[in-house]
Structures are given as structure tokens and as C-alpha cells.
């Protein structure tokens, strides 16, 4: 019973971090129908940037964070402006492929500037673990969960009530109609990439201050695709519900079948969901016509 509670709580906490990364994916998908397969690489590069700011240039913590957010804004803007905008209206294959190219480029860039392959950020959150009933949990993971919950609420409110958020939803629905209503579609795409990069940067700082900065971050990115698929691509709620589910499945699978199975579970979930419920828990099923 104790291990049960222990596993569920740590699963939920880890899952919330996946959910945070998946939020960045859903943001872009929701507004521009582009699937960002460079998710993990965005996390990777912003973590390394934070490392560069805090550990190499020795900036104070608050300034380093500010620089990272500024970097994320710039990165998102550049990506949209240089790589995605020329491809508006191109077939879906090109849009997938361009984010793959982006993934390759960003990975190369990080290896170019930070070839050491492993880095550590200073610990942001208190180290001692907390006891919840019979379970103990790292405090850092809880903080991660809280931050992703806050971000989720902010983003949901933004998409629901803010003018820009409403315009973003409308753009995803019908670009032409939105343009006819004089909504600047290109600016909306820019904004969504900028937001996604900020979310990725926050996620990156969270994860890499808990563990190390290395190629594992990219794999975390791949794992959070399972969150996106299970929750449904266009749903923030889906992310925040599916994240803990994936996390729980991972920790339980890991404790039942051995830790090597743990890496497999997100991908198995992807296959199962796509075979039986392809649009996820909260995704909209698209009905196609000729």
C-alpha cells in the first residue's frame, strides 16, 4: 500500500513535468496546426543557454532567468519567421519535415557551443524531501508539478478570454475566414511559437535543475509526445490529465517489470492510443470530406 501511494505520487509529479513540455506542443498545434517535433531540442537548447548564463558567465540567478526568457522569445520569433512562415500553405509533410530539420539544427547548435555533453544547473528548489502520508517525495518534483499547473491555468484562461487567445483558436479553425476578419495571422503564429519556446524554456529549467542537462532531455521530449497523443493534440486539459496518467503508468510499470520497461511505456501508450482511440481523450475528431 505504501509503495502504491509512493508510486502514484511520484508518477503524478513526473507526469506533470511531461505535461508542461506537452503544453508547448499543444500551443503551437492549437493555433497553427503545425506539429512541433523539435520539442525536446527546444528544451535542450534553452537548458544549455541557462547553463551558459548561470555557470559560465556567472550571472546572478534572476538575471540568468530573465536572459533565458528573452532568449526563448527571440528563438521562437526567429524559428517562426525564418523556418515556418515561408512554408505557410505547403503540404503537411513539409511542415513535419521542417520541424525535424529544426530539431537536427538545434541539436547540432547545442553540440557546437556546449560540446561537453553534460551540465548541471544550481539547485533552485530546496533539496529535502517531503512526506505526504506514508510517501516521501522530492520537493523539486512537487514544485515542478505546481508550476506546470499554474502555467496550464494561465494558458487556459489566456486562450479562453484574452483577445489574442481567441484569435489563436479562430486561426486554427479557419485561416482564411480569420484573415477576412482582419486578424494578423502571421503575428498569431509568431506569438504561438514565442509562447511555446517560453514554456519549453521553463520546462527545461525545471527538469535540468532536478537532474542533469544532457541528451536525456531530448528523450523526455519524445516521451511527452505520448502525453500529447493520449490527451488529444488540441487540448490543454488533455495535457494536464494525460501527463499524470503517463507518469503513473511509467512508475508502476517500472516498479512491476523492472526499470528498463519504464522507457518503453510512453511509446507503447502511443501505439495503443493511436490504434484504438486515435484522437486521444480530449481531442476533437476531425471529419474529412473530399
Amino acid at each position: 500500500m505504501d509503495t502504491f501511494i509512493q508510486n502514484s505520487i511520484s508518477g503524478i509529479a513526473i507526469g506533470m513535468v511531461y505535461a508542461l513540455i506537452a503544453l508547448g506542443f499543444a500551443l503551437i498545434w492549437k493555433s497553427s496546426r503545425v506539429a512541433n517535433l523539435a520539442l525536446g531540442q527546444l528544451v535542450l537548447i534553452s537548458s544549455w543557454f541557462t547553463y551558459g548564463m548561470l555557470m559560465q558567465l556567472k550571472f546572478p540567478f534572476w538575471f540568468g532567468m530573465l536572459m533565458t526568457i528573452a532568449f526563448a522569445v527571440l528563438l521562437g520569433w526567429l524559428i517562426e519567421r525564418l523556418a515556418l512562415r515561408p512554408l505557410i500553405g505547403q503540404p503537411i509533410l513539409s511542415l513535419i519535415a521542417v520541424t525535424l530539420g529544426l530539431a537536427y539544427f538545434l541539436e547540432g547548435l547545442t553540440a557546437f557551443i556546449w560540446p561537453q555533453g553534460q551540465g548541471y544547473l544550481p539547485r533552485v528548489f530546496p533539496q529535502e524531501s517531503i512526506r505526504i502520508g506514508p510517501a516521501t517525495i522530492q520537493q523539486e518534483l512537487l514544485w515542478g508539478a505546481v508550476i506546470s499547473l499554474v502555467l496550464f491555468i494561465l494558458l487556459s484562461l489566456f486562450f479562453k478570454y484574452h483577445k489574442m487567445g481567441i484569435a489563436m483558436r479562430a486561426t486554427a479553425d479557419d485561416q482564411l475566414a480569420v484573415q477576412a476578419c482582419a486578424v494578423p495571422v502571421t503575428r498569431i503564429f509568431s506569438m504561438s511559437w514565442i509562447f511555446a519556446c517560453i514554456v519549453a524554456a521553463i520546462g527545461g529549467i525545471l527538469i535540468s535543475s532536478i537532474a542533469a542537462i544532457n541528451y536525456g532531455l531530448v528523450e523526455t521530449g519524445f516521451k511527452s509526445f505520448s502525453v500529447v497523443i493520449l490527451g488529444g493534440m488540441e487540448s490543454f486539459l488533455g495535457c494536464i490529465v494525460a501527463g499524470p496518467i503517463i507518469g503513473i503508468c511509467e512508475t508502476f510499470g517500472g516498479s512491476l517489470f523492472g526499470s528498463s520497461v519504464k522507457e518503453l511505456i510512453p511509446f507503447l501508450i502511443i501505439m495503443i492510443v493511436i490504434m484504438f482511440k486515435p484522437f486521444g481523450l480530449f481531442g476533437e475528431e476531425r471529419i474529412e470530406r473530399i
Binding site: W29, A35, L37, A83, P86, L87, Q90, I92, L93, S94, I96, A97, V98, L100, G101, L102, A103, Y104, F105, L106, E107, G108, L109, T110, A111, F112, I113, W114, P115, Q116, F222, F225, S226, V228, I229, M233, S260, E263, L264, F267, L268, I270, M271, I274, M275, P278, E288, R289, I290
Partner: protein, 351 residues
């Protein structure tokens, strides 16, 4: 297809022929001659590059059938190659199967695994399918990593070099002939496949699968066939890779390679028989050039960056090439080549 001025076809066969004029025949024969005499004057340090180009061409041709013609994205081509490679390793090593038989078995086993992962294509497409093939890649590699009784995990397996009867392909030049015969056959097969009924059906499915279904094409069968054929070629490539390298482990088949193959295909041109070849040759030679010449030179001249920075160079250059091609020439090098041919044919009269 446009023909040179004055060339007319009097029968259906001449109209459908791949090679139609005398000039084309001459050029084609010269090309074949050059291809099959290459080992005589190729410097020995180049064999490695050329042979791996041959192997990768097969995998990319398979990917072209699946992605270029059938329109189903596969981000797991390296995983399917791994299936082929391990099948060859196991069959030729522990079951003592002759090489050609294990080659075919590798293709079939990779194709069957491909069929399983192709099933979702019935219900989903685009990004969903892309993500499910990412899952395929990771699941396959995970199985190869953890099924240690058969695959020996990280230690990997030793593979005998290919042999037919008593003839062992034990030198680089012999390997060259083996690899390039199979690669040529694959290219020929893929070209003819694309021109026939199956290829037409693939193209219909790619362009609009709902419309294709209304026209009476069994979309699911053709999508699965696309997956089977694409993965079959990946299996062949994996099998050749295994016997060429002599030792394989799951670490040889990374997700990055899967992306690289897609990159090669897109740089070369989707949905053309020339594309995979052009893309593979260009990207592979670029890769060798970068690792052998540019990276050491950069390491010496640029001193303000930390040591070892050039490891990211390849990735960066390809990512960039990939994005630029998509933006400026989405139909790839093959399209540029056909534009060149077209303008050359009319030269010096532009219209």
C-alpha cells in the same frame, strides 16, 4: 515527360520505355560502365563512403516508396533497418543460412514488422502517423536492447561476410559489387513499381486518400503494401549493412539516422526515382567532407570555442540544408535536374 524534338513513338512499348532515345541509351550505358568499373580506379580510402552510399540508397529508395509515392510518413526507417540487420545476423550466424536467403528473410521480417506499425495508418495520418512511427523506432530499438538472449544487448552480434556458394565477398571491391548490384535492382524495381498499377494507386492515396477510396482503390491494403515495401527495402539495407560492417549492435540504428534518411529523401526530391540517389550521394559525401576536412580545419583555426565543438557541425549543416531545401526547392534536387534538362533541351531557344 517531354521528348526531344523529332522523336515519335509508334507503339505503346516505345512510349512507355524508360530509355527512349539513342543519346539516352549511350549515356545510360556509359553510366553503367562507370558504375561497375569504379572499383578499379577508386582510391581505397573512398570505398567506405561509396559502399555506405550504396547501402543507404536502398533504405532511402524504400522510404521513397512509402513517403514519396504512398504519402505515409515514416520516422522509423533506421529501426526497420535494424530489424533486417539483426535478422541477417541471427540467421546467417546461428542458423548457417546462405546469405541470399537470409537477405530475403531480413527484408520479409522488416516488412512484417512494418506492417504491424503500419496498421495505425488506417485511422490516422499526418502528425499522428509521424508520432506513431517515432514510437515504432523506439519500441524496436528497445526490444533489440533488452532482448539480450538473442541480440546480446550492447555487446552486439558478429556477422559473417556475405558469400554465395564458395565465393566470399571479403574485399571492399567485392562488397562494392554486391551492394551496388542489389542497389541497382532496388532502384529499377522501385522505378517500375511507381509506373505501374501499384504506383498509380499509391499516388492516388497520397494525393487524397478519401478520393482514392471513392474511386475504388482499397486504401488500407495499399497503405499497408506501402509500409511493407518501404520496410522491406529497409530490411535489405540493414542486412547488407550488417554483413558489410561485420558487427552490429542496437546503437548503430539511431533515431537521428531515421531523420537523416528523411532529410536525404527530401533534399533529393520526394516521389521521383532519381531523388533518393541524388539526395543520398550529396548528403553522404557532404558528411564525409565535413568530418574529414572541414571539422579538423575548424578545430585548428577556431580556438575560442571549447574543444570538440565540431561534433555538432554535421547535425547543424544538415539541419540547415534540410530547412533551406524545404523553403526554396521543396521538390528537391531531382526537380532542379529536370529543369536543367528541360532548358538544355531547348537551348539556345528559350521558348
Amino acid at each position: 515527360m517531354s521528348l526531344p524534338c523529332g522523336t515519335r513513338n509508334y507503339s505503346y512499348n516505345t512510349d512507355m520505355a524508360i530509355i527512349r532515345t539513342k543519346t539516352q541509351w549511350v549515356l545510360f550505358s556509359l553510366f553503367l560502365l562507370a558504375l561497375f568499373t569504379l572499383p578499379f580506379y577508386l582510391p581505397s580510402s573512398w570505398f567506405d563512403t561509396v559502399n555506405s552510399i550504396g547501402i543507404i540508397v536502398i533504405a532511402v529508395v524504400g522510404l521513397n516508396i512509402l513517403m514519396g509515392y504512398c504519402g505515409q510518413l515514416s520516422l522509423g526507417q533506421a529501426g526497420f533497418m535494424a530489424v533486417g540487420a539483426f535478422t541477417t545476423a541471427i540467421f546467417s550466424q546461428s542458423l548457417q543460412m546462405p546469405f541470399l536467403l537470409s537477405l530475403v528473410c531480413s527484408g520479409l521480417s522488416a516488412g512484417l514488422i512494418g506492417l504491424i506499425f503500419g496498421i495505425p495508418s488506417l485511422r490516422v495520418k499526418g502528425f499522428y502517423l509521424a508520432i506513431s512511427t517515432i514510437a515504432a523506432q523506439f519500441i524496436i530499438i528497445w526490444v533489440l536492447k533488452n532482448w539480450t538472449d538473442v541480440t546480446h544487448g550492447a555487446n552486439g552480434l558478429d556477422v559473417l561476410q556475405a558469400s554465395i556458394g564458395n565465393f566470399v565477398f571479403d574485399s571492399e571491391a567485392r562488397q562494392y559489387y554486391l551492394i551496388f548490384s542489389i542497389a541497382s535492382l532496388s532502384v529499377l524495381f522501385a522505378t517500375n513499381l511507381a509506373r505501374g498499377r501499384i504506383g498509380r494507386a499509391f499516388i492516388a492515396v497520397r494525393d487524397n486518400d478519401l478520393a482514392a477510396e471513392v474511386m475504388g482503390i482499397n486504401v488500407f491494403n495499399y497503405k499497408l503494401l506501402g509500409f511493407f515495401l518501404g520496410c522491406f527495402f529497409a530490411g535489405l539495407a540493414g542486412s547488407l549493412y550488417a554483413q558489410y560492417k561485420g558487427h552490429i549492435s542496437y546503437e548503430d540504428f539511431t533515431f537521428q539516422q531515421s531523420i537523416l534518411y528523411i532529410g536525404m529523401l527530401i533534399v533529393g526530391g520526394l516521389g521521383s526515382s532519381l531523388g533518393p540517389i541524388l539526395g543520398t550521394v550529396l548528403i553522404e559525401s557532404l558528411q564525409k567532407g565535413l568530418t574529414y576536412w572541414v571539422a579538423p580545419w575548424l578545430e585548428q583555426t577556431v580556438t575560442f570555442l571549447p574543444t570538440g565543438f565540431s561534433s555538432g557541425l554535421n547535425l547543424m549543416v544538415f539541419g540547415l540544408a534540410f530547412i533551406l531545401i524545404l523553403i526554396f526547392e521543396p521538390r528537391g534536387l531531382a526537380h532542379l535536374w529536370s529543369l536543367f534538362k528541360g532548358s538544355y533541351r531547348l537551348w539556345p531557344f528559350s521558348y
